[in-house]
């Protein structure tokens, strides 16, 4: 490879979207949940999927992970994910933090984390995770089902951070958490965002504003708007119409 070719490849890699979602269609129980959803996730940025309840945000994540059947295309660094089984999709270097945390309640914190370790780097990243969430280290022998909601969220995020994933799919990390815990969770995600790409579903606009660089707004299963985060706050009408909140005023729901 000539040096010109190397430069060209590097430039392409830097500007090409990490994820290209095209014409994603999902039907569930006779209803059309996603209707031709297309958007890009740029590398090393945090893209927030926004929209009202039922707009199709979680469905988009689940379909990308192969947990719901859908048609269209989801290309991750050029690799088509649709049609792959869930474990193969995740093995492409994708981490997932589900909406309701879904920690294994009967397993200890340590067992939850061990289960998630699938790469050689995971062992050394355990220290990083314990540094982010010292509470998890203190409670490592405790059953995850007996943890508070905030601690369970830390376990769920830790599972995704243990492997050096290239993409994190994070579904409502602030849901149902006390403000002080939300701060801790957001701080951890800010650190994670420094060296990975994140696609985030978030109802709490303050949280989305702190983390996200780009937004994709869904409305009734269609993409209503996509662009940089700043547009949302420059255009109160947009926020009001699709999110039902006055985003420019600070965004507390």
């Amino acid at each position: 490879m000539t040096s010109d070719a190397v430069t060209a490849a590097t430039v392409t890699a830097a500007t090409r979207p990490l994820v290209e979602v095209r014409d994603l269609d999902v039907h569930r129980a006779g209803a059309h949940i996603l209707d031709g959803v297309s958007f890009d996730v740029l590398p090393n940025r945090v893209t927030a999927l926004l929209g009202r309840n039922g707009a199709g945000k979680t469905t988009t994540l689940l379909t990308m992970l192969g947990l719901l059947p859908g048609t269209g295309s989801v290309a991750f660094d050029g690799v088509e994910l649709l049609g792959m089984s869930t474990h193969r999709i995740v093995q492409q270097s994708i981490g997932y933090v589900p909406e309701d945390r879904e920690v294994f309640g009967q397993l200890t914190v340590t067992e939850n984390l061990r289960l998630a370790m699938r790469t050689p780097e995971a062992e050394s990243r355990l220290d990083l995770v314990h540094e982010l969430f010292p509470e998890l280290h203190d409670r490592r022998e405790q059953r995850a089902g007996t943890l508070s909601g905030g601690q369970q969220q830390m376990v769920a995020i830790a599972r995704a951070l243990l492997n050096p994933n290239r993409l994190l799919l994070i579904d409502e990390p602030s849901k149902g958490l006390a403000p002080i815990v939300v701060n801790e969770v957001v701080a951890a995600l800010e650190r994670a965002a420094a060296d990975t790409t994140i696609l985030l579903v978030e109802q709490n606009l303050q949280v989305a504003r702190r983390l996200a660089t780009d937004i994709v707004v869904l409305d009734s299963g269609r993409v209503a708007h996509s662009g940089p985060m700043s547009e949302l706050f420059d255009d109160p009408e947009l926020a009001h119409r699709f999110l039902g909140v006055a985003a420019a005023a600070g965004g507390a729901p």
Binding site: L65, L67, S85, T86, H87, V90, Q91, Y96, P98, E102, F104, G105, Q106, L107, E111, R114, L115, A116, R118, R159, N163
Partner: protein
Amino acid sequence: MSTFVLIFVTALGLAGLYFLLAAGLSLIFGLMDVLNLAHGAFFGIGGYACWLVMDHLTVIGPLTLRFFVAVIAAAVVGIVVGAVVEKLLIARNYGNHLSQILITIGLSFVVVSLLGGIFTFEPKYIVQPAWFTDTVEIFGARIPNDRLLILGVAITLLVGLLAFLRYTRHGLIIRAGVENRNMVSALGIDVGRSFTLVFAIGGLLAAVGGALGAVYFNGVTPGLGSGQLIFGIIVVVIGGLGSITGTAVAAVLVAMTQQFVNYYVAVGLGDIAVVALLAVVLLVRPQGLLGRVAR
């Protein structure tokens, strides 16, 4: 008092058999949502594997050693049968309960007929070491040694199974999978690879149960396993799907109820009492004693 102790220990032996039959059934249902109605066939096949070794492997003189070999042989046959059934028949039918039920019921009929065709429907008696039928005195009761042997093997396998689930990565995946299979996949783990393993473990336990059952029930017939399956299913439901400890506790409850009612109330009423026990548990605690927990 001595009668009570005799029935108590006999019931514990029977509980051991129920546990061996039900443990695999419980894990298979807990992890894969498959009700394996061919599980009794694994039990029967284990019984015949044991009989074949005891009857034909006369090169091994000492009967105790030969019985040991017979149990190992039954275990190996059980592993192979369990794995093959999963790979050939179940693997393509996950999520389809009707197919699973039809296939496994059909398989159990086929196995019973096949065993009958090969070995006839007459009971095959197991040649036993003399010490099996010797008795030891416990609290004034004379207890045949084979009851204690069955109990000992069942407890050993229970402890081994719990250790496997607790201390190995496969065990961790199985325990997590019983709780939330989708989330295990979403951590990048191929849960499907554990399915064959769980069937093989279930086959092993049931076949060893069949080998011991051939001694307990004084011989093996083609229908032995299918006849016991209903009690295995009741034990699984009472114990809680996917729970090994629950299965062990439920096996003891069912066997005790059955034996004591049969003796102190009326012969034959024991089976009805077991169904009544099932009804009470389902009314009071529908998830079973320790539901949806592989431990």
